[in-house]
Symmetry: C2
Subunit: 252 residues, 2 copies
């Protein structure tokens, strides 16, 4: 089963309320359910003809393996996230996606996506917006690895993840359940596992946050936000639909 105490309906974090018909289209996209046990690849680097997926339950991560053997995790995916959108455009996928827990996804073939997007332009806009937000997160991630020290970097990451989880009802300012181990954190943040361990201890001793055995507990949320220089603006893009005339005004 998943990580949460209560099962939730499959959601799509569009950042905007959706209509009944859009919900129906979205539901119809979710017909091809597939389960993956922990540690399996949903998308593989170098793979051709990849599909898109909606992560219904469980966690995953997208990562890249370098020629020197190292691994860099680009993003942690939580329930409601779209996976592999970019793989549709690129000939071969430039990254892999792997499950972090047992997970349930809905596979979305290119043709189905076409139908859904044609029937619900607002859904298309939501997709584009979702992709944009992913890229904004990638940019923030890049900045963090390039220009924040390990303490700030870990703190910022825990806050970003928490903020995303709050938006889908899986976390509060008190904390959240978190299946990421220190190896995954290390590959995400460009650090070694032992240094992640030391940094987490430091953050705990400073009274900001306690990370332990599947749980993240914010001991001083406001203090941590200040310490990390966390600004959620790049996650809080609202109502993008009005800004996309060529999608919302289709079929004149």
């Amino acid at each position: 089963m998943g990580l949460r105490d209560r099962p939730t309906e499959p959601t799509c974090d569009t950042g905007d309320a959706i209509t009944e018909t859009e919900r129906a289209v979205l539901e119809s996209l979710c017909r091809d359910r597939r389960s993956f046990r922990v540690g399996l690849d949903i998308v593989r680097q170098g793979q051709t003809q990849a599909a898109a997926y909606l992560l219904v339950d469980g966690w995953a991560c997208s990562y890249k393996t370098l020629p020197n053997g190292a691994r860099q995790i680009a993003n942690i995916h939580i329930p409601g996230d779209f996976l592999g959108l970019r793989s549709l455009l690129l000939q071969t996928s430039d990254h892999s996606v792997e499950t972090i827990t047992d997970a349930v996804v809905s596979r979305i073939a290119t043709q189905e996506l076409y139908a859904a997007v044609s029937g619900a332009p607002r859904l298309a806009a939501a997709l584009l917006w979702s992709a944009s937000r992913d890229e904004a997160m990638l940019l923030e991630h890049l900045s963090g690895i390039g220009r924040r020290d390990a303490l700030e970097r870990v703190a910022h990451f825990l806050l970003e993840l928490g903020t995303r989880l709050m938006r889908v009802g899986l976390g509060t300012r008190a904390g959240y359940r978190c299946p990421l181990n220190q190896y995954i954190l290390a590959d995400t943040l460009g650090l070694t596992p032992v240094h992640v361990n030391r940094v987490l201890r430091k953050l705990r001793e400073m009274g900001y946050v306690t990370v332990r055995a599947g749980d993240v507990v914010f001991d001083d949320f406001g203090g941590l936000v200040a310490f990390a220089g966390f600004e959620a603006a790049y996650l809080d893009q609202t109502s993008p639909l009005a800004r996309i005339p060529f999608l919302s005004d289709r079929n004149p």
Copy 2:
């Protein structure tokens, strides 16, 4: 003037040949020419209602300023690149774009872009593909900063830039003209200027590449590729149009 010896026609690196009508649409997009002197912001972080731009001549970079005052450059833009595509979707731009040399851009208002995209769906596909390639580059950049040491990182960057320049006729395997100073390289690669300097010296002493006063000279291109673990696959996505039925098969 620009950096190149011969002026070139405004191009759009779509990775695919374009038809006459598409070229015409593209030309019409380029009517609102604007010049920026070196060091000016074309797009500003936090700005609302940003437009998109086509970089016609000169170089620019997109970057993010962190709360701690540090700067991280996400991408270097060369002639033919689209700028600020994502700013159209996000309410406020999450990054800035600044000129590195005197530059000429074509401003593309949202409405014009709408018209162009409607009239030439292949152009829309090219835009999406361009955005995808940008994100692939961002991912590679992230991986480099997170998991490559400074030597590999600098080497890889010089090769990536060279490869992009070759595709638009501004470079060869022998080298290219390059207006990036060591401060810009540092902010791009997550290093300090002095360390960039030492790394460049090391790469020169190893016989791989010489970087000096506006020029990058590959002394041993193949050796550098091997040393950096450079694989151009993520830049070499060809003919994406076939993979986007909902754009190329419009208007049945």
